[in-house]
Symmetry: C2
Subunit: 339 residues, 2 copies
Amino acid sequence: MATTFNRIVLASRPTGPVTPDNFRLESVTAPDLADGQVLVRHHYLSLDPYMRGRMNDSRSYAQPQPLDETMIGGTVGEVVESRNSHFKAGDKVVGMGGWAEYAVVDASQRGVLQKVDTTHIPLSAYLGAVGMPGVTGWYGLTQICEPKAGETVVVSAASGAVGGAVGQLAKARGCRAVGIAGGPDKCRYVVEELGFDACIDYKTHSDGKALNKALKEAAPNGIDCYFENVGGWIMDTVLLRMNAFGRIAVCGMIAGYNGEPLPMANPALILVSRLKMQGFIVSEHMEKWPEALKELGTLVATGKLKYRETVSQGLASAPEAFMGLLKGANFGKQLVKLI
Amino acid sequence: MATTFNRIVLASRPTGPVTPDNFRLESVTAPDLADGQVLVRHHYLSLDPYMRGRMNDSRSYAQPQPLDETMIGGTVGEVVESRNSHFKAGDKVVGMGGWAEYAVVDASQRGVLQKVDTTHIPLSAYLGAVGMPGVTGWYGLTQICEPKAGETVVVSAASGAVGGAVGQLAKARGCRAVGIAGGPDKCRYVVEELGFDACIDYKTHSDGKALNKALKEAAPNGIDCYFENVGGWIMDTVLLRMNAFGRIAVCGMIAGYNGEPLPMANPALILVSRLKMQGFIVSEHMEKWPEALKELGTLVATGKLKYRETVSQGLASAPEAFMGLLKGANFGKQLVKLI
């Protein structure tokens, strides 16, 4: 009884902004399961900024997404058929099934599929606050920034899945948390719902001078830790306000309009302020995931770590939702609901 | 019996390149010693790039050099008179006496004056390989770069007092050491006398493309550690060849011709290559000096750590020697001999 389902493949690489033509929806039939394999029906698909980089064919930290293959992506769902003794039909699982309604997973490979408990934590949260974005925030904050109580932590893209976790984890450690986000709605959410001490709207403080002034007010004792999700002129401005011995976790950096590198205006500040600046990719630190997920899961289950989701409906909506994500149209974690 | 001696004060702050007019030689008389004070006759004065920054009246990690006061600087010499029970006439000492033939030192303040042993180590070495420059190289290499045997360490300004120590300490740790220096004489010295594996002359590889090619040949397995003494286009080029998880100790960064910041071309490499980049100032890590000086002193006393000195004669020669240092005219540690 073969399962036929829809998937989205990368049809072409973008030259400039991503367009719907870069994707192709197609119907495929799942092969019969081999020993060790399971068939997973996806409930939610995660859309994340890193996918944009994979669509290029350039040197980066990860292999490019192959053309004509299912777009990469995190997924949560339910096992519907299993030829693996560790999984049975009905198990809720998180994996990397990609932009598809179903996936055949070789579950005997360690780490590719994880059973999750949905008693106290919603299934979708395993793609956000208790998943890769949450662990990304946790890792950069706790392993690179290492904030002490009383210090000031600034995070860009603060209303997003990563940034929201960073600020709330910083608050839980006794820090002052200051967000940077785009627009009054996001800033209000960051302060009123997520509990940050302040949030700066970079759209109304849209140059270095205005942002610098706003940072001076929001972080009157200077900035000890910066969680970098964007780069460019926002990074340049935050650097000016870093305290001596500040730490910067580099999680994301945008490129210029045509993909060219955006320079850093004044790298000598790294010396003048004795800063530590460190880039990281959370999937390279799997040894830390259990510790991170334990803290994040407990906080979500007890309602102490809040998050928001933007959910688009149906696989076919994924390309448009993804293009919206790249423009900042989402609010919190961007998901595609498949069931 | 009052001692009259010469000193050099900062007469004016430079606007652009340093000129002789920025300094003034004058004669002063030492006051009678108070309790706890000693009078030191300087044998050598150290000239160092950091002094240029102090001549400005701008925000940096240190206080500006005050006008009309003795120029700051490290010194070695001999106690000639003492009202401090820990020092007696004839003791050889290292301190921060400044650009002067003598200094009255309140030696009861901890750390301002250190007795040194000249049995196996020349007195002048306490201003170089067994002093601030040596410890600077040691700290950046061992505490920030943390190289492992088999890794490749690149250092700019490799023939200088700091860079030379970095490469030799890296070799002692089983690393491949690659220097960058200006001119064939300096490069030959770095390889033949200091024992680096390779040295690149940035004057004959004078743009990013040429330097990149030379680095590819000199560091065929990529670069794991970079000790940064210069910044600018050399840093931009080295960054392109850093391996994943590379470490960069930032010790020095030049500014542009008119003092404006020089940008970093592609900071996204910090993320793409998951680099750690950290600025430091060795005087803020006094707790590590004993460990560093022990290793450096042993290596110098046993002839395993080599260095070169450029010595100008007499206090009046200090301004010109300093201007030469800023242009790279010195070869190894720049000193002024006062006796």
